[in-house]
């Protein structure tokens, strides 16, 4: 069967490459590819890669990288086990389902297929790592197998974590009981890391600046060193300097890989479920395939209680409000604020614990700054995460375009959906952040803090609308770069598209801020002559007003683009 899988994957890979090469005739894909290649080139050392360096025997891996790598891998593992990070590990495409789920294959064979399929990107990534590790320590020819064993083991672990999740979901208590051994191992593993961190809290409190050095040392001592040992084992071949050292490290890493494979296969086999359950799932899968969705090997679409709309929708009035209502509902039904709130609270609590001995005042200030920091983080990353706007709705372009709503109103309603969600999240962080900062008493002018917070609350919707508008503009002009439509870039092209998207957004956002800044500064300068520092008030107000003016302008421009968009030519419709 493996031979057949390899044939299927090979044909699929060949066709993908042919299609990607063919579409390079389109400038947007060619430019994306060039950007992607340039990104990889510079990200992994750039021109230095091709220069001459010290003799190979004298080369060393950066000490920081060696110390941090197992920790980063540990974070990834925790994400797979606790978060939604492993959910894509066992997803199948509709074509896979059509061809494989109807074939006489066992669950084990389907998992084998999934693992084999992952080998193409793993090999590609390993080749890239090999290329860019040329100037690193160790014989050049060891990097490819070393990277391969590392990425394959991590992939197996991700699949294993997903299988455990699924078992627990499907079989409830019985599922947890059946998987008590891996779960106990994971709990013990996290506890070991937690214990080691707890042990270094006193020196950490004394010198927070050395947090990474202190944590690095903690992870070389038991029990963390034992917990991280499997990760160090799979990393060790990459770090080996001598051939003999590499051989033994590689053999050990292979053993970890094989152990993971056996674990995944055994976990998969333990999932052989009743015929009735399988039939239900098959029906759900067939339905999902018909609607063109990606589907998972395991059912996770158990009906759940739906959250009611935040506001009722009357049957008469401005039609665009219906679009806003729908998009807000999309956000409330698909996202939970529990995890971000929990992470923020945990981070704030961590700050309080670390700084309590310095006095409660500093602890409160740090906790407040953590909240404000997360609010700032949303300002930067939010436009990519809050997608309940055109980026989500363009998939339904055939329906949207038949609605009697003009382009500008449609864009305004769409942007209002993501802007309101993003702003609400920021304000929810801003309020406790400001309160904690004020309670700390460390700010000499509380009135300034309050004024700044009020100005932020006024300006945030406009800031966010501009940032989200840029993302929506990219989605309208080049839907594929926003991962919309059937003709999406992949691999290096996708990386290039993402880079262009990111840099383009930053550039456009910066340009958008210039006119309001100039206007605000001129008014401030004039007002300061008369009112001193209070001149900042009219300056800030004009700055904010100019931001809203830009939002209006942007909505009209994007509305025009929306009206003129040809869904077929842009790849949104076939």
């Amino acid at each position: 069967m493996i031979r057949h899988f390899l044939y299927f994957i090979g044909i699929d890979f060949r066709n993908k490459i042919k299609r990607r090469v063919a579409r390079l005739r389109s400038p947007r894909y060619a430019i994306a590819l060039l950007f992607g290649l340039a990104y990889f080139f510079f990200a992994f050392g750039g021109p230095a890669l091709f220069g001459t360096g010290p003799p190979r025997a004298e080369r060393e891996w950066p000490a920081g990288l060696v110390a941090a790598a197992p920790f980063y891998l540990a974070l990834l593992v925790i994400w797979w086990w606790l978060g939604p990070g492993s959910r894509l590990a066992l997803n199948f495409t509709p074509a896979d389902v059509n061809l494989l789920f109807t074939a006489p294959l066992t669950r084990r064979q389907l998992i084998q297929f999934k693992l084999l399929r992952a080998q193409a990107p793993i090999l590609f990534t390993s080749l890239l790592v090999t290329l860019f590790a040329q100037r690193a320590a160790g014989p050049w020819w060891v990097h490819l197998p070393s990277a391969w064993v590392l990425f394959t083991t991590m992939n197996l672990h991700q699949v294993g974590a997903e299988l455990v999740h699924t078992s627990a979901k499907q079989h409830g208590l019985a599922g947890w009981r059946r998987l008590r051994v891996p779960l106990l191992v994971f709990v013990a593993w996290v506890a070991a890391l937690g214990w080691s961190i707890w042990q270094v809290m006193p020196p950490l409190r004394a010198d927070v600046g050395k947090v990474f050095v202190i944590l690095g040392e903690a992870f070389t001592q038991p029990p963390a060193s034992i917990a991280l040992a499997p990760l160090r084992i799979v990393l060790q071949p990459m770090l080996a300097v001598e051939t003999v050292e590499w051989l033994s490290a590689f053999a050990l890493a292979l053993l970890v890989l094989v152990a993971h494979y056996i674990w995944v296969m055994r976990t998969g086999v333990a999932f052989e479920e009743s015929a009735a359950e399988a039939a239900t799932r098959t029906a759900a899968i067939v339905e999902a395939v018909r609607s063109g969705k990606r589907v998972s090997l395991y059912d996770r679409t158990r009906p759940k209680k739906l959250k009611p709309p935040w506001f009722p929708l009357g049957s008469t009035g401005e039609p665009a409000v219906a679009v806003l209502w729908k998009n807000v509902l999309y956000y409330t039904r698909n996202f939970s604020l529990f995890i971000p709130i929990a992470v923020t609270c945990f981070a704030a609590l961590f700050g309080v614990i670390v700084f309590t001995e310095e006095g409660s005042s500093l602890a409160l200030l740090v906790a407040g700054l953590v909240y404000l920091g997360f609010a700032g983080l949303i300002a930067v990353l939010g436009p990519l995460g809050f997608r309940n706007d055109l980026r989500n709705d363009l998939r339904n372009i055939q329906l949207l375009r038949t609605l009697p709503i003009g382009g500008a109103r449609m864009v305004a309603a769409q942007l209002a959906g993501s802007t309101s969600a993003m702003t609400a999240a920021q304000v929810a962080l801003l309020i406790p952040g400001v309160i904690l900062v004020l309670l700390s008493g460390r700010m000499p002018q509380a009135s300034l803090v309050i004024a700044g917070a009020l100005a932020a609350v006024l300006a945030l919707p406009a800031f966010n609308a501009i940032a989200l508008g840029i993302q929506n503009g990219i989605a309208l002009w080049i839907p594929a770069w926003s991962r919309i439509g059937s003709d999406q870039p992949g691999g290096v092209e996708f990386m290039g598209a993402q880079m262009m998207n990111l840099f383009g957004s930053i550039l456009m956002f910066t340009i958008a801020l210039i006119p309001p800044l100039i206007l605000g500064s001129i008014v401030f300068a004039g007002a300061a002559l008369k009112w001193g520092n209070y001149g900042v008030v009219p300056g800030a107000l004009l700055f904010i007003a100019a931001l809203y003016g830009e939002v209006l302008l942007m909505v009209n421009i994007l509305g025009n683009v929306y009206d003129r968009l040809d869904p077929v030519e842009s790849g949104l419709l076939k």
């Binding site: 609607s291 929708l313 698909n334 038949t402």
Partner: protein, 238 residues
């Protein structure tokens, strides 16, 4: 009610539809026929404002679709071959959404009646993911009828429907026409077209090859006299 003049759509050098002109009056059901790739979907998409034609004009209920799309779209409804639904809205919420879009004043009674009509009353609080293909199609049809459109365009409306639903959908189409709506029905089901349509429009390779009632088309081709729609269709498109 629907006036199409010199409709032309190019994709690069490829002409998907060329110089297509026709009209559909209120009360008429026009059957749009053509083999796969003939340009039916492109024509329908142009008529409902999904794509902009390269040339030509389209008027819906007297409104120019290209210059006044909002007014024109208020008068029409489109039911595509693949139902377009929002994954996170329930059946009832879809109806509420469409009611607001078209500012339907007596929405509640309309929604209840339509859901009853398409047998989705007991599914009003479920998401599309929990509906069968046929139920989704029924919901798409109900959404299209919420504002009592003056122009109704349907692309393969019976796909996935059970016999009972097929019968009711046919009745609905007929009823809409009787109430004065102009209906365009695109389908490969020749028996359906023969049963419901008052006139036919046959497209082949993006061009109009025949228009009129079956009798008129047969009269224009003496060799087809007395033949059924299937023979006429094959003679015109092969």
């Amino acid at each position: 009610m629907i006036e199409v003049s010199n409709l032309t759509k190019y994709y690069g050098d490829f002409a998907a539809v060329t110089e297509l002109s026709f009209s559909v009056q209120g009360g008429e059901v026009l059957g749009m026929l053509g083999p796969n790739g003939a340009g039916k979907t492109t024509t329908l998409r142009s008529l409902v404002g999904i794509i902009r034609p390269t040339r030509g004009s389209i008027h819906i209920a007297g409104h120019d679709l290209l210059n006044d799309p909002v007014s024109a779209k208020r008068a029409l409804a489109f039911v595509p071959d693949e139902p377009q639904l929002f994954e996170h809205l329930t059946v009832l919420e879809h109806m509420l959404f469409m009611a607001r879009i078209h500012s339907v004043s007596d929405a509640k009674s309309q929604i209840d009646a339509l859901l009853e009509d398409v047998e989705l009353s007991d599914k009003r609080n479920v998401l599309p993911a929990e509906l069968s293909r046929g139920m989704k199609q029924k919901l798409a049809i109900a959404c299209g009828l919420i504002h009592d459109p003056r122009a109704l365009l349907l692309d393969e409306p019976l796909t996935g429907l059970d016999p009972g639903a097929i019968k009711r959908t046919k009745l609905t189409i007929r009823r809409q026409a009787e109430r004065g709506a102009a209906v365009i029905l695109s389908s490969h089901l020749l028996s359906l077209v023969e049963e419901l349509c008052t006139r036919l429009l046959v497209i082949h390779k993006g061009k109009l090859v025949a228009a009129g009632s079956m009798e008129e088309i047969a009269a224009s081709r003496p060799e087809l006299a007395g033949r059924g729609l299937e023979d006429i269709f094959l003679a015109l498109t092969t």
